[in-house]
Symmetry: C2
Subunit: 241 residues, 2 copies
């Protein structure tokens, strides 16, 4: 089902939206120029330091957001502090759980990021009047569901080595959607975050990195910069044949 690109004059579009990448890839692409103007009146952008919280588990949702730049992690915590990252969102993803007052997860910036926020009630009103917008949000939810289920297989059935390789493969294919060369990238997560994403400890993550490095599956510089000489080989290590 192809979506017809709306023929809108750039001059009708709010200034800040014109150069926005999320406008075409993200949910704003479903809006007419008037709707965009309306939404823009209530929206504001902000920069997030690494670790800055967008919304906390159990808190009342005030805003939805579009990620303009950076990586946002979605986490769940248990009462005793055990933590699991249940999703990673990359620009230009929509951030938020429509139709619920209270957030079941914490969202926080994994890297220095920039987001564009809209009040929940404004977007909710817009969704009711704009089937195309609901369709976009529906597609986003389905994409996240597919990703969550893929990751459930990783969490439930893969070995530590396969998990770490799966993580590297995920980052390689998601960090920079435009880039042709996916063989070199910066890890957006610390070892502790990676452990929380994979259901492992930081020690095990570190050991598996060392092992993959010694087997020449990856090269690592400065802890964060990774090079993958053979992506298919990494994929095999990840158990995705």
């Amino acid at each position: 089902m192809e979506i017809r690109r709306q023929d809108i004059h750039n001059s009708d579009i709010p200034l800040v939206c014109r150069a926005c990448e999320a406008r075409h890839g993200g949910v704003c692409g479903a809006l007419t120029s008037e709707q965009l103007s309306e939404l823009n009146k209530h929206s504001f952008r902000n920069r997030l330091e690494t670790g800055a919280e967008v919304i906390g588990q159990g808190e009342t949702v005030v805003n939805y957001s579009n990620i303009m730049r950076g990586v946002v992690k979605l986490t769940k915590v248990m009462a005793d502090g055990r933590q699991q990252i249940v999703g990673l969102q990359f620009a230009p993803d929509f951030l938020g759980r429509p139709f619920l007052e209270e957030s079941a997860i914490t969202a926080e910036a994994a890297t220095e990021s920039e987001v564009c926020n809209f009040p929940r009630h404004v977007l909710d009103r817009l969704v009711k009047r704009t089937p195309e917008l609901e369709h976009k949000l529906h597609q986003q939810a389905l994409k996240e569901l597919d990703e969550a289920r893929d990751w459930m297989l990783t969490l439930g059935r893969k070995t530590a080595q396969e998990k770490v390789a799966s993580f590297l493969y995920l980052i390689a294919t998601h960090i920079d959607p435009e880039s042709v060369d996916r063989s070199a990238f910066e890890l957006p997560l610390s070892r502790a975050d990676i452990a929380d994403f994979l259901g492992l400890t930081i020690e095990t993550v570190s050991r598996q990195f060392t092992k993959l490095r010694k087997e020449n599956v990856i090269r690592i510089e400065n802890n964060r910069h990774v090079t993958v000489p053979d992506m298919d080989r990494l994929m095999r290590y990840a158990g995705n044949d």
Copy 2:
């Protein structure tokens, strides 16, 4: 956001739909009587034996379904046969992944079940014309996403005992939505399926059942019938404080 119940005369509704529970709880509730009649022309019901496959991983999706009765498990398999259940669907859930040709998962009956099937292209056409229907499907996708993320925490961070307790709690609260007394129920899954749902082996699942039984958290008869004397206690064993 409350959805106005459509004021439809029963006489306009297809005979088979009149007594259908999924009509109000499920996606059909979003349809007018004409739309329901239209959809009904192309739909058919069938009974599924335990283990019967609704759709296989990698196959082309021909039908969507509503679960009328029973429990359907959604699984993913790796090339070497390792398997993970990534979702359990209970009546009257909608079954299917809108907008994708190829299924990323296998869906099969965990118990003897009954489903109502509609051809994909018929429902897809209806979705485009019926925002209310897309809204229902969107809500269903979001519900499944919430459940998937809850389960990711279970898979990634809980101990074997907490996992088994979490499974029992999940079944207790989902198997019979109408029932007030949730303290006695039949397990819809074999030990092997439970292991695949929890990312464990059958031996570990069995041992944890024995342990929970010895600690009087549950009682078990005939392997499948479970009684929970204290649901809050089970919840604590599941790590959900």
